[in-house]
Structure formats: C-alpha cells, structure tokens
Amino acid sequence: MDMYIRVKRSKTTYFIRCKPTDKILEIKLKLQELVDQPANNQRLIIPATGEVLEDSRTLADQKVENDAVVALTLRKDDNEFEEVNIVRPNDFYQARDADGANW
C-alpha cells in the first residue's frame, strides 16, 4: 500500500487507499459506491485553499500527499455543487484546531 487520503463530507470521513499516480477520476470511481453517487456528481476540493481537483490530473500533480484531507461535495438537485461542509468534533481539542494547526 502506497498511501491513503481522508475524504471528508459533513460528519463522515472515507479513508481511501491510493497511489500518488492515481488520477482524481480513479479516486471518484473508488468513492462512487460508498457515497451512492456517480463520479460526475462528485467534486473533490482541497479544503485549505478551495482548489478544485481535476479529474484528468494525478494526486501527485496536485500535491495531494499521504494522510491529506480532501473535501467531497456532491451535485444538488438544481445541478449545482454544494458548498464544502466538514463538521469538526466540538470537543476539548477544538481550541487547537482553531489555530489552523495541521496535525
């Protein structure tokens, strides 16, 4: 196994095993059964920068590394994609999260 990424939406996190040479489309195909949505209804975004990942490019191309967090958004009924929505646990450790520390 080469690496994994954490794909997050709302309160759910999908741990996806992948390779740096995988294209984003391949990641979406891995996700499609888990999220019950075909690849073209999915959009993957780097939460820190808001950068939308492109299907035809690889993870390595777009600097997505092992253990990276990627946001998943799905197409809504009106054909638009929803906003990034990742719920964080509201607990003791939140203060540190708020600093934007990456850990």
């Binding site: 196994m1 996190t13 741990f15 095993r17 059964e33 888990l34």
Partner: protein
C-alpha cells in the same frame, strides 16, 4: 471500492469513519466482532459504534490502522528495511495531549 469491503466506525459524537475492513482488523477487538460466527450485529451491518471513543481519538486510531498497513508489516530482519522503518519519516505522530485517551482506546481495541 465495494461496500462489503469496508466497515463504518462511529464515534461518541456520531461522526463516521469508513475504512477498509483489512485496516480495521488491525484491531483484534474489531477483528473478533467482524469474524466471529453468530450474533454480532456489527457483522451484518458493517457498522461499529464506539460510544466511549471521541471523534478525535477515533480518527487517530483509523490513521494508525493505515500507518500499520503501510509500514509495520514491512518490518523484517533485513537490516536495510529496519533502518527505513525506524526513520523519522515513518514515525507515527501522537500529540502529547491525546496520549492518555489514545492509550485507553488502544487497550480496549487490542491495537
């Protein structure tokens, strides 16, 4: 990925982590739940709820499962490999403030 190959781990706050069964089975406790014959409801639904493990800790545990798959299994007596495994890059990072809770959870999960 097929749903049957994954298991959903649910934290005290109701957050869900979908991981490969192979990864979750790094935990002996989860392994037993998923493989023992009979009446574990977990086995049918592919869902395990941990009302006593917080989200932060459960996520750390899932990261550990994958770290284990990536690196721990590659340890053998070949000295070259050992050097790689003990290297800084492959260390599993644990924040000091998580240590106690993480140890309790690890003990429970036989991880």
């Amino acid at each position: 990925m097929r749903k049957e190959d994954t298991v959903k781990l649910i934290s005290a706050e109701g957050f869900e982590f979908v991981v490969d069964k192979e990864a979750a089975m790094v935990s002996q406790t989860i392994h037993n739940m998923l493989t023992s014959p009979g009446s574990f409801a977990e086995r049918q639904h592919g869902e395990v709820t941990f009302p006593e493990i917080s989200t932060t800790i459960l996520e750390k545990i899932c990261q550990y499962f994958y770290w284990h798959l990536q690196f721990a299994s590659s340890i053998d007596l070949n000295s070259e490999n050992l050097a790689v495994v003990s290297g800084k890059e492959t260390e599993f990072p644990i924040e000091p403030e998580l240590t106690l809770e993480l140890m309790m959870a690890a003990n429970y999960l036989h991880t």
